[in-house]
Symmetry: C2
Subunit: 248 residues, 2 copies
DNA sequence: CGTGGAATTGATTACGTTCAATAGATGTGG
DNA sequence: CCACATCTATTGAACGTAATCAATTCCACG
């Protein structure tokens, strides 16, 4: 099933019936593929349908005056992109692929049908967008009030839990298919400084990162150092020991 | 009419019929008052109804480990607080009054009724929450990629346009009822540095601020310096000369 | 193998923080 | 209406985190 990661993620909010899962699957009208660094939607455009990330990572970003990018969200399999397409005139930011990706196009009319007839499923989808917003708030705090090392640790903790919720983690490790430069523009650092901070986390025995695979060696110390409290992810039991080790 | 600022704001998205306005007004079940610095909702709580700011300013914030606050949103008259109350288990942040405020409590059942029977109005309300999210994204870019002086200028530009949309501005000035310390924790600076940056903007002839009243002296230079592009506010004609001078 | 992107290291600079002290504004009670 | 208390704004000096600029080194891939 192509939409497995979404189902998995939604299940950290509520359990879905087989009927509901099929409904969701059926809403996929087509699948597009994008190459690394290709734009999925661009600022100023009005998307025609809603997107669901199936495979690979993407990001929301804005282009700044000086030509730099700033990333405002990481999009992993199971994440929805534009629940709001019908309402806003045009995108105020762009979305692009960080790796080769597969993106499902969700039909607007199917979605409306779901909203009207499958209230539990509709709630689950809305929940997912509210969580996205909550993540945005946490990122704002991260950017505004934490030092570079704490900021990075915090992001890595989040991405482990999110990867896990999508069924993409193993023990305390997950694929982190981003360059250091991309990580840098995500937390608002220069690539140089990001590199130094990464090394610090490695030196302190908190993480291991090679070949685009991140291992969090000591979750306890990592969350403590990263000032990470998972409540903002609004997962059923996030933060509890059982959640942290759910896939062991 | 108590909900004038909301109506005004929504009208920058769509015009509402008298019927729709009355419907909105009728959804207010009660009005609460809070003193300066009092919490309206606290992290961990589950609010009973949706809140609408009627008078005064508030803010969303999180408390950090070191006891500092970080502000994630400024809430002015006409702004809605928690469209999502029914879905998330508990607040992941708090909301408090920056000045003495009046807050309307909107009944959940009335709201559902509106959503079901007044689609245009429902769209307008949803639009307003989508704009809030868009503002959050812009703040993230602001915090992550702009220097302190530009960041402050950007925020002040935004607050002028938002105040204006709520009918609370005059020419290029509006009430900014925050201390420098509060402004500082909004854009992630120390109060000391915020003060210096404020003075720089004054020295450069961009703004005037006294007695909690802000005047943007030179809108053209201010937006240019602040790298401010109003598209993210998704107002009907924001950015156009006619919008900028709409209330002159 | 060789080539180009990604990661790493070093040296210097600058933006913003921190700590500390002073001045100004606001509000309250006598 | 003044005197005092308190919060807010302002200034100064020293420090520190992260940016900048410039080289290398390391890898993955063709």
């Amino acid at each position: 099933m192509t939409i497995e990661p979404l189902i998995k993620k939604l299940s950290s909010y509520t359990d879905l019936s087989r009927d509901e899962k099929q409904m969701l699957e059926a809403a996929v009208v087509s699948i597009d593929e994008f190459k690394k660094h290709q734009d999925i939607i661009r600022e100023g455009q009005k998307p025609e349908h809603m997107h669901l990330m199936l495979e690979g990572w993407g990001c929301r970003y804005k282009l700044l005056e000086d030509g730099k990018h700033h990333t405002m969200a990481l999009i992993i399999p199971g994440d929805l992109c534009d629940m709001h397409i019908t309402l806003l005139e045009e995108m105020d930011h762009s979305i692009r692929a960080l790796t080769p990706v597969k993106v499902a196009n969700i039909s607007q009319t199917q979605l409306n049908h779901i909203v009207d007839h499958y209230p539990r499923l509709a709630r689950a989808l809305l929940w997912s967008t509210l969580v996205d917003e909550s993540i945005l708030r946490e990122w704002l705090v991260n950017a505004g009030s934490r030092t570079a090392d704490v900021r990075l640790a915090h992001l890595l903790c989040e991405m482990l839990l999110r990867s896990r919720a999508a069924g993409l983690s193993e023990h305390d490790s997950f694929d982190l298919p981003m360059t250091q430069e991309e990580l840098a523009e995500t937390i608002g650092l220069t690539p140089v400084h990001l590199n130094r901070v990464l090394q610090k986390l490695r030196r302190d025995g908190l993480i291991e990162l090679k070949r685009r695979r991140l291992v969090i060696i000591d979750w306890e110390r990592m969350t403590s150092f990263g000032q990470f409290r998972p409540n903002y992810l609004h997962q059923k039991s996030s933060g509890s020991r059982s959640m942290q080790t759910a896939d062991r």
